[in-house]
């Protein structure tokens, strides 16, 4: 079957996406849970061990506290309470921590430090898997055993105010609730007022047992202006006064009922130095946790340092405090200070319950649990505990009892610590089989792509895909047989759950057919290449291709980038790699330009006839091969000499200056957004612009950027889309003014901030309009098939529609990124690619490099925290999944997408050859799939690396998303190419 190289590449990338998806599914396993937990809920509580004597304590102990108030402050880092900020802004809390009846802890959150997994960790005590981050956007109901469900089952009345995530996690659990949405990050007063306004009423009423408040404001301030902003102080003071209000109200109630209440102040995650969260710096991991109750006696002068504990410990403690069974998946251990005031027998009872729960979890998850030190310790303490109970029931000497009790307690605490540790370390197993299948698919596709390079980049841009012969070959059937046998063996013997085995037989069979067909294709391509290679080496007429410096640079740069993915620091600082590469690329282009210009001036007098002759020859060659430009063709001086000749004086100067202009642009952009990890805290222009003092500057910059965008884009548009573009850009400014990012010059007073839905929809309409016009032009060009210009205009209109959408979604301080991207594209087109006549492959790779660099110029990094989720809510009233995900993905990958669409419109307008687009598509597919494939192998080999969750996994998600977008781009390429060939 003959296939155009573009279509071939698109198919390959689509298959690769399947492979990567399978790999991802295996790599991010469902967290291992204790089996059949839900059914065993009615299981009776473990009775007290009693070593012969009969104990009357077989039921769950009664609750320690009557009411529990959980005040969760989003992003409450430990030093906001225990550090200098706490002393300054939270006087009441500081008083409680230092002198009051309270226990304070520094609770360490686990990765990922994002709200939903942290709420789950707090309430279930388990460690949610990394994949929960991705599910964060539409949090499904929490089905695991957790404190809230237990409390509801026990008939407690729970009231909740705050982040809507809770309502989604625990639907129908609350007798009363008011959820606030957390996605309008720029709002930090109203979200909290919405919570506080209910407080007075609720505190007066006595008809509840558990009150949960989740305050979002602090985290929003962090996202907008960072942890050192003065707004933080105000917010902390507000939180302090709320805490005081709750505490006094609880105290006054206690005076009447004489039963202690519990007030928990905690944070879900911390806040990094830049104000975000999601990664694993100390500031993000360490949160404050304070338990306040009159039951916690304190002698005067008893100074307690906040102890370091795990965040998961809270679930067990809450369960004990409320007299509930400890959630089955909890890996936390009881915070012992909370029960210190109880009699020894009760203390031991609580510790025993917790230890039994942990050891049960261990038994279900570790096959060789009997050898675990924690389990042995637990058994020993249980025995000692039994002895102690017997002595106690026999009413022995109190001093002996006390000493033995202290010993048992110590034993239990040790056992709990060890159990908890070994359980947390029990990371969910990787699903190696699915990963392997995915990797094999990806690698086969990559080798197929690599093997078909010479054929795909030839003039015809067509290649023979050996598709039918392998299907009937013996190798195919043998492979299929072996694979099926393997599948049966693996799936029947596997102990842990395996996604690929869980698939239906038909799907799994399809994948296996695909794998073996690809294998046969690779083998036959290999055979063909070697056969051809022998033939070519016999043929002396075929010259060895000479590589220009640019080609060497491109090759080495790609290789170097791929290799650098093996080091965690290089992944964290990947932007540096790309900035470095495009700088070098610009210098190499500069070198090429100067050599061509200056040397030609130099040699012209002597070698005039020679040049003339060469000119004629090249022109003739160009005419001959008007259908294709060949990468294997030696290019260099002779190619560019002729083209630079034709330039007039001023244009020549522009050509000479253009690399420097581009370099300067890149340098400016680099200081706009500091990204990465090591230098992310350094001051940058972006922060300067977004701070509220510089609103006027930001407004001017935004307006200027929008004007420049219009000026740069409108050149090649039709009149209709010009008008639409202008109105759309105007709408963008109105939108930004409506949500309060920028100012109108005539509107000095701050008017109320709205969501700007109408303005944003106004722009959306124009975006759709422009895209529609472009599509219409493309269809027209396909049907009429007379005019190439219609198609060019259509492509450019699609491109400008995307630019408009990007302008809407980019945060205002990022608009210069868009401007510079357009500017660089214009300069490169006019003064570099056209005069120097690079071939399609080189242009494609340059586009790809710049696209990658602009991905980071936007402020993105290989860290989930930098994804701008607010882009998904532009023009939407509420969270609607499909458009929100689409908009967020587009806003994040705007750089690569815009450069790729520019590539399409440039190539189809520029080259006379029909194969340029297929070449470009092939190169794009190849250069995108190369890093992905290499990265998959790297990640597989590094899967027990310390930074696998914090560094490698987010990058893997980014790569997966990138290959998906690449597939979409390649399909678009191919569609354009098809219309081209038909025309």
């Amino acid at each position: 079957m003959r296939l155009g190289s573009g279509a071939f590449a698109a198919c390959c990338v689509v298959i690769e996406v399947l492979g990567v998806a399978l790999f991802l599914r295996g790599f991010f396993p469902a967290p291992v849970r204790s089996s059949s937990r839900a059914e065993q809920r009615a299981e009776p509580a473990a009775p007290e061990p009693s070593a012969g004597a009969s104990s009357n304590w077989t039921k769950l102990p009664p609750p320690l506290f009557k009411k529990v108030v959980i005040m969760l402050i989003d992003g409450l880092r430990d030093d906001f309470v225990f550090g200098s900020k706490g002393v300054k802004f939270m006087p009441y809390t500081t008083y409680l921590v230092e002198k009051g009846a309270s226990h304070s802890f520094v609770a360490e959150a686990k990765l990922p430090t994002v709200t939903m997994p942290r709420i789950k960790a707090l309430m279930t005590g388990s460690l949610p898997g990394f994949i929960d981050v991705v599910r964060n956007l539409n949090s499904p109901e929490l089905l695991e055993d957790n404190v809230i469900t237990q409390a509801k089952a026990a008939g407690k009345r729970i009231i909740f105010y705050g982040d809507e995530t809770w309502v989604k996690l625990f639907p129908k659990h609350f007798v009363e609730y008011d959820g606030t949405t957390s996605f309008f990050v720029s709002d930090y007063t109203e979200v909290d007022d919405n919570v506080t306004r209910h407080l007075d009423k609720v505190l007066k009423r006595g008809d509840w047992d558990m009150l949960i408040l989740h305050y979002l404001g602090l985290d929003h301030i962090g996202h907008v202006s960072g942890p050192s902003s003065p707004l933080i102080g105000h917010k902390l003071r507000e939180m302090d006064s709320i805490l005081m209000k709750i505490h006094t109200s609880l105290l006054s109630e206690e005076r009447e009922t004489l039963v202690p209440n519990l007030l928990v102040l905690c944070g879900d995650h911390g806040m990094s130095e830049t104000g975000g969260h999601g990664a694993s710096s100390m500031e993000e991991l360490n949160t404050a946790l304070i338990l306040i109750s009159s039951a916690f006696e304190r002698k005067p002068g008893d100074i307690r340092r906040p102890k370091h504990v795990q965040q998961t410990d809270l679930a067990a403690t809450l369960a004990i405090g409320l007299g509930l069974p400890i959630p089955g998946n909890s890996v936390g251990s009881l915070l012992f200070p909370t029960v210190e005031g109880r009699p020894v027998r009760e203390q031991l009872r609580f510790l025993h319950l917790n230890a039994v729960q942990l050891s049960k979890l261990l038994q279900e998850n570790v096959p060789s649990y009997e050898k675990e030190p924690g389990f042995e310790q637990f058994k020993m303490s249980e025995r000692l505990h039994g002895n102690w109970i017997r002595l106690y029931l026999e009413e022995n000497n109190s001093e002996v009892l006390f000493n033995l009790g202290a010993k048992v307690r110590r034993q239990y605490l040790d056992a709990l610590r060890t159990l908890s540790l070994s359980l947390s370390r029990q990371v969910a197993q990787y699903d190696i089989y699915s990963m392997l299948v995915g990797t094999v698919v990806v690698l086969e596709v990559l080798s197929l792509l690599l093997l078909s390079i010479p054929e795909a980049l030839s003039n015809k841009a067509e290649l023979e895909v050996p598709l039918w012969s392998p299907v009937f070959s013996l190798l195919f059937y043998l492979t299929l047989l072996v694979l099926s046998a393997l599948h049966v063996i693996v799936c029947t013997s596997a102990e842990s759950s395996c996604y690929f085995c869980g698939l239906s037989w038909l799907t799994a069979g399809g994948v296996m057919v695909l794998v073996s067909a690809l294998l046969c294709a690779v083998v036959s391509a290999l055979a063909k290449t070697f056969g051809d290679g022998k033939f070519l080496s016999k043929n002396p007429a075929h010259p060895k291709p000479r590589w220009s410096e640019l080609d060497v640079l491109i090759l080495l740069g790609t290789m170097g980038h791929v290799l650098s993915l093996g080091a965690s620091s290089f992944i964290e600082e990947e932007h540096q790699t790309w900035y470095f590469l495009i700088n070098t690329l610009c210098l190499a282009l500069c070198h090429e330009i100067y050599r061509n210009c200056l040397l030609r001036d130099d040699s012209e007098p002597q070698q005039c006839p020679h040049v003339e002759e060469e000119f004629i020859r090249t022109a003739a060659a160009l005419q001959d091969r008007s259908t294709g430009c060949d990468t294997l063709e030696p290019h260099g001086v002779s190619r560019s000499l002729t083209s630079l000749d034709t330039l007039r004086g001023y244009e020549k100067w522009m050509v000479l200056a253009s690399p420097w202009v581009i370099l300067t642009c890149c340098r400016l952009l680099r200081s706009l957004n500091q990204t990465g990890v090591q230098w992310a805290h350094r001051p940058d222009l972006g922060h300067w612009l977004t701070s509220s003092d510089h609103k006027a500057e930001l407004s001017v910059l935004t307006a200027l950027s929008l004007i420049v965008i219009f000026a740069l884009v409108q050149r090649k548009c039709s009149l209709t889309s010009k008008v639409a573009l202008a109105l759309g850009l105007l709408g963008v400014y109105c939108y930004r003014a409506a949500i309060g990012n920028v100012l109108f010059p005539w509107q000095r007073d701050s008017k109320d901030i709205s969501k700007g839905v109408i303005e944003a929809r106004f722009v959306h309409v124009f975006v759709l309009g422009i895209l529609f016009t472009g599509t219409k032009d493309l269809l027209k060009s396909q049907v009429i098939a007379t005019d190439v210009t219609i198609k060019t205009v259509g492509l450019w209109e699609i491109y400008s529609g995307l630019v408009l959408l990007a302008a809407l979604l980019f945060r205002p301080h990022n608009l210069p990124v868009l401007v510079f991207s357009l500017l660089i594209q214009t300069i490169m087109t006019k003064f570099i690619w056209k005069p120097l006549r690079h071939d399609a492959a080189e242009i494609t790779i340059m586009h790809y490099w710049f696209g990658q660099a602009f991905f980071y110029f936007q402020g993105n990094s290989n860290n989930i925290a930098t994804v701008d989720i607010s882009a998904g809510f532009v023009g939407l009233d509420t969270y609607i999944e499909v458009p929100a995900v689409f908009l967020t993905a587009f806003a994040t990958f705007a750089g690569p997408v815009l450069w790729a669409s520019h590539l399409v419109s440039f190539l189809s307008s520029e080259t006379s050859s029909g194969s340029a687009l297929s070449h470009a598509c092939f190169c794009y597919a190849l250069i995108c799939s190369f890093p992905v494939s290499a990265y998959i192998i790297l990640v597989t080999s590094l899967r027990y690396h310390l930074f696998i969750w914090s560094v490698f996994s987010p990058k893997l998600l980014y790569e997966g998303m990138h290959i998906l977008i690449t597939a979409a781009i390649c399909v678009f390429f191919t569609a354009m190419d098809q219309t081209n060939t038909k025309a």
């Binding site: 080091a567 210098l587 050599r595 130099d602």
Partner: protein, 213 residues
């Protein structure tokens, strides 16, 4: 002729390497608290002075290219001044390139500039010594197949090696090993003295080995 040239070439390169080593050893006798890492600025100055001096001396002694026919004093003076201007210009040019590569504009400006100076000493000074202030000749040497003598060949190799060495010197920037030599240099010139030195020596030796064959 060729053998003697190769021998002389070898000696000049050895002398250059020796001068770099000297620039590490000698100042510790005169200056207190001298070490490459802590007083890197001083060392950079000393090193570039040493290398320049050695290059000039070698040029005067060896005289690889037959000196021009006109040898009036005024001609020599203008030539020398021109060389100085070229050298300064190359320093500023490199500085601009480093800033474009991401070195901070204001802070650490002295480090950046000294780095530009030392790169110029390793690249521009030999060019000036060998070819004189003649841009056309430079372009000829650094374009393909433009080399005429073994001296120019060596010049081409060492200069390009220096550039590549500097370029590769940016490699350890993102690594968070927190070594002392990583601390004080920023974006581009996280490239370290030690590193550069090692590369220098390596690159200096390579051409010699190649030519001795």
């Amino acid at each position: 002729m060729k053998d003697t040239d190769i021998k002389r070439l070898l000696y000049t390169h050895l002398l250059c390497i020796f001068s770099i080593i000297l620039s590490i050893c000698i100042p510790s006798f005169f200056l207190e608290n001298f070490s490459i890492l802590e007083t890197h600025l001083t060392w950079l100055c000393i090193c570039s002075v040493f290398v320049t001096a050695v290059n000039l001396v070698l040029y005067l002694i060896v005289k690889p290219n037959a000196s021009s026919k006109r040898s009036s004093i005024s001609y020599k003076v203008t030539r020398f001044l021109k060389c100085c201007i070229y050298f300064l210009m190359s320093c500023f040019f490199f500085h601009v390139i480093f800033v474009l590569y991401g070195a901070p504009l204001i802070e650490l400006v002295l480090e950046t500039f000294l780095f530009a100076v030392i790169l110029s000493t390793f690249t521009t000074v030999p060019c000036l010594c060998l070819l004189g202030p003649n841009i056309k000749a430079w372009l000829r040497v650094f374009s393909r197949n433009g080399v005429t003598s073994i001296w120019e060949n060596s010049l081409q190799i060492t200069t390009i090696s220096s550039f590549i060495g500097t370029w590769l010197g940016a490699f350890p920037i993102p690594l968070d090993w927190e070594r002392p030599w990583q601390i004080y240099l920023f974006i581009h010139e996280r490239h370290t003295e030690r590193q550069r030195h090692r590369q220098r020596e390596k690159h200096r030796r390579e051409p010699d080995v190649g030519l001795d064959r």
